[in-house]
Symmetry: C2
Subunit: 192 residues, 2 copies
Amino acid sequence: MSVQERKERERAGRERLIVETARELAEQQGWDAVTTRRLAERIEYSQPVLYSHFRGKREIIGAVALEGATALARALRAATADADGPSARVATLAHAYLDFAERHPAVYDAMFQLDGGLAFAHEDTPEPLKDGFAALLETLSEVAGEGVDPGLFTEVFWAALHGMATLTRAGRLPPTEAERRLELLVNRLAVV
Amino acid sequence: MSVQERKERERAGRERLIVETARELAEQQGWDAVTTRRLAERIEYSQPVLYSHFRGKREIIGAVALEGATALARALRAATADADGPSARVATLAHAYLDFAERHPAVYDAMFQLDGGLAFAHEDTPEPLKDGFAALLETLSEVAGEGVDPGLFTEVFWAALHGMATLTRAGRLPPTEAERRLELLVNRLAVV
DNA sequence: GATTCGACCCTAGCACCGCTAGACAACCGA
DNA sequence: TCGGTTGTCTAGCGGTGCTAGGGTCGAATC
C-alpha cells in the first residue's frame, strides 16, 4: 500500500501547488492573468493536469477562496486577541478586516467577488467560510445591543465592511478618509 | 450640411441601440452572454461597427453604467419624494436602493461590479455618477448627525447598502432577513 | 449626368481563452 | 518479463475580444 500512499501524497502536494500558484499569480498580476495555460506552465505541467484535480477554473478559484477564508479568520482572531474591552475589539476587528482586503485583494476577490462555485448561508457551506463568519460573530455579538440577534447584527456589520472594502478598492470611495469612515461606522453600529 | 446631420443622427441612434441592446441582453442572460458577436448580431451589424462607437467591450459596459446611474438617481428621488419626515425618507431611500439592485442586477453590476473604465471620486467623474451620489446625499445629509460630514456619512451608508446588495445577490446573505437587516442599519446609522 | 473620391461596413483572421479527446509512455502487480 | 492500468501530453474544438484590409455605395465635383 506504500506505493499508493506515496502517490496520494504527491497528488495532494501538487494540488496544493496549483492552488498556491494560482493565488500567487492572481496577487501578482490579477485574476485576469490566471489562465489555465499560464497556471499549467508555472506548475510545470500541461493543462489537462489541472482538470484531474479540479473540475475547472471556477473550482481553483474556490480553493483559493477557502484557503483565504481560513487566513482571514486567523487574521481577525489574532487582531482581536490582544484588544481590551468590546469597544476596542470591534474597532480592531474592523481594521483587521479592511486591512486584509487591502493587502490580499486577489484572495478577497476569490472569496467575495468572483464565482468560486461555493455555497454560502446554507447547511452545506464549507467549514472555512462558516468559521470566517464565526470569527466576526465572536467579537460582534458583544456589541449587538439589547434584543438584537447577534447573527443579524454581524451580517449588517459585515455587509458594511464589505461595501467599504470593495468600493474603496474599485476607486468608488476615496481612500483618504477610510479611517474616519471606519470610526463613524463603528461608533454608530456598535452598542457599548 | 443636412446630409452630415442626418448621418450624425443615425450614428447617435445606432449608439443608443448598441447600449440598449447590451443592457437588454445582460438583463436577460447575464453579462457573460454579452459577447461582441452576439451583440453585433442583435443590432444587425457586424462586429467592427461596435468598435467605431466604443473602444471596446469595457466602454459599452461603461455606457450601460452611466445610463443606469441616471436611472438609479431618478428612482431614488422618486421614492423619497413622497415620504414624510427625514426618518421615513431614509428608510424609503434604503428600500429603493436595494430594490433597484435586485430588479436590475445587470445594470447594477455594470455600475459597481464590472470594469466599465469609469472614473469615480475624482473631478473627472462623469456627471450621472455624481448625480447618483447626490441623490443619496440629499436625503442622508438630513440624518448625518451633529458634527458629522454629510458626505462622509453618505459614503458609509452607501457602502453598507452596497455590501448588503452584493452579498445578498451573491448568495452570501440569506435574502429572508433582508427587511430586518435594513431596519437595523437605518435605526443605528441615521440620527433622527 | 458622368466621374471621382472618400466614408463606411463587412469578411476574414489574429492570438488567446476554457476545456477535452485520444495517443502514448511509464510504472505497478503478477 | 510481461500485461494492464494509470497518468501525462499533444493537438484541437468552439468560443472570446479585437483588427487589418478590401470592396461598395453614396456624396460632392466637374
